[in-house]
């Protein structure tokens, strides 16, 4: 049962990802990506990572995708610009390349899965134990304290960058 749910979610995520690159309307791409994020969040739930699932919905689906929508509307990317370029057909023409990249990625992820112990029950129990909020907090505020504090600096840098961007735009508008 769990296997069945997992594979259907995986399939859903892949279909969503294909939708992102093949949709002609950029807004449909955003919606496909949302669907992919939803499937991924369900996968996280399935392996017991509640926090990660909620974080996925809260930050990726709830915040970053809203920014994408705003940017699309800001640039006024209609369907017309994208109409000349048919991604699906372009991908079809470069089928060998697409297949090569796809197979490489699949091989890499299988290798990575084997590195961490694959899908054995042991590995899954291991994963579940880190899933709890308190454990994650312990690691975050202990072992990875430096990275945690560095993240705040990164966010500060992001803030400065976005203000500079928005300000430059405003000066151009005034001129």
């Amino acid at each position: 049962m769990e296997q069945l749910v997992f594979y259907s979610l995986g399939l859903g995520a892949v279909i969503g990802a294909l939708g992102v690159v093949t949709a002609k309307n950029p807004i449909l791409s955003v919606l496909s990506l949302l669907w992919t994020f939803f499937c991924l969040a369900c996968v996280y739930l399935l392996i017991g990572f509640e926090f990660l699932a909620v974080a996925q919905i809260l930050v990726y689906a709830g915040a970053i995708m809203v920014l994408f929508l705003f940017v699309i509307m800001l640039l006024n990317l209609g369907t017309s610009e994208a109409a000349d370029f048919d991604t699906a057909r372009a991908m079809g023409r470069r089928l060998p390349l697409v297949l090569l990249v796809g197979c490489t990625l699949a091989a890499l992820s299988i290798l990575a899965a084997q590195q961490v112990g694959g899908t054995s029950d042991e590995a899954r129990a291991d994963l579940r134990s880190v899933g709890s909020l308190t454990d994650l907090a312990q690691v975050m505020f202990g072992t990875y304290l430096l990275a945690f504090e560095a993240a705040s600096i990164l966010l500060l840098a992001g803030t400065v960058a976005v203000v500079m961007l928005a300000k430059r735009e405003r000066r151009k508008n005034a001129a």
Binding site: N25, I27, L28, L31, L34, E50, F51, A53, V54, I57, L58, A61, G62, A63, M65, V66, L69, F70, M73, T79, L133
Partner: protein, 339 residues
């Protein structure tokens, strides 16, 4: 198997109650506004106009649909669904009452799903409602809806931030993200010997901020820039008709109901009855509904009493007042907890 059936029944009942409550709220909105303005309000359909929401629903079904021609037809049809589904889903973690029964050792609780991440789940899911509004505005291929949708989106995300930070202060105090446990934590002792230990008394600043945030988050007066009748005609749903318009409407009222329930849970002890710790579950449910209904009344009362803000005032309030205050609140809470 019995547990599964009981769960199914419970979910169906909660969903039915949510939809009915949304319908009743629309009637209450019209009745109370009439009362405030010394009118009679709907009184033709059924006794005292009580069947009005039903009549409205049936009417919506038979109304002509409008879909703007062009390439965004699919998005236009999808948008109301994207607005309604998150609003209805976020009710899932609200603990309406305590334990109802126990079947084969599995307790049947008073919420759809008793999630350990409930407090964040509700913010994450209700935050998704913003897509329906942006897409509805964009797909309408009309100027007023686009402006209304964008404004509503920017407003919702701004206030969602303050809301999450306020909830986190409560979470830090209760030591859990589970909404049922947050509600229970308010009922295990009393303050000064007579006050129930509700968070409204422990975190009055957070309570006031949170209630105002719920108004902005649900696009209600005095922050209803999504609709803003006098400037934007009808805002993001100007071009919508028939059941698609109704879905936006139901979503909006469901979001209000969920926010009223969330405020009750976080600040008013949820389903508890003061001085009666052992109250049976249906008394608790009654207590919860009473408290939530009081907030619904507040939503309506404010709408018909206050004038609308200006949009820049709203954004300034969110970023320059609410966000700093929410951060200060969580800081002070943390300080008190750590010392």
């Amino acid at each position: 198997m019995t547990v599964l059936l009981a769960t199914l029944l419970k979910v169906l009942v909660i969903f039915g109650c949510l939809i009915s409550a949304a319908g009743i709220s629309t009637l209450a909105e019209r009745k109370i506004s009439a009362w405030i303005q010394l009118r009679r309000g709907p009184n033709r359909v059924g006794p005292f106009g009580l069947l009005q929401p039903l009549a409205d629903g049936i009417k919506f079904m038979f109304k002509e649909e409008f879909v703007p021609p062009g390439k965004s037809r699919f998005l236009f049809i999808l948008a109301p669904a994207l607005a309604a589904v998150p609003a209805m889903m976020s009710v899932a973690v609200i603990p309406f009452t305590g334990r109802i029964a126990e079947i084969d050792g599995t307790p049947i609780l008073g919420s759809v799903a008793d999630l350990d991440m409930g407090a964040i789940f509700i913010m994450a899911v209700s935050g998704l409602g913003v897509y329906g509004i942006i897409l509805g505005g964009w797909a309408s291929n009309s100027k007023y809806p686009l402006l209304g949708g964008l404004r509503a989106a920017a407003q919702m995300i701004s206030y969602e931030l303050s809301m999450i930070l306020i909830i986190l202060a409560i979470v830090a105090m209760s030591g859990t993200l589970n909404l049922r446990e947050i509600a229970d934590a308010q009922n295990d002792h009393t303050l000064l010997g007579f006050l129930p230990a509700w968070n409204v008394f422990l975190q009055p600043l957070a309570f006031v901020l949170f209630v105002i945030c719920t108004f902005a988050e649900t696009n209600r007066h005095p922050f209803d820039f999504a609709e803003c009748e006098s400037e934007l005609v009808g805002g993001f749903h100007t071009e919508y008709s028939s059941m698609k318009f109704a879905l936006f409407f139901i979503g909006e009222y469901c979001a209000m109901i969920v926010m009223a329930c969330l405020t009750t849970t976080l600040f008013l002890g949820g389903a508890s009855v003061p001085f009666w710790a052992e109250a049976p579950w249906f008394i608790g449910l009654g207590s919860f509904v009473f408290k939530a209904a009081a907030f619904m009344f507040l939503f309506i009362w404010v709408r018909w009493s206050l004038p609308r803000f200006r949009y820049d005032q709203l954004m300034a309030l969110g970023w320059k007042v609410f966000l700093p205050l929410a951060i200060t609140n969580i800081f002070i809470t943390g300080l008190v907890l750590a010392l």
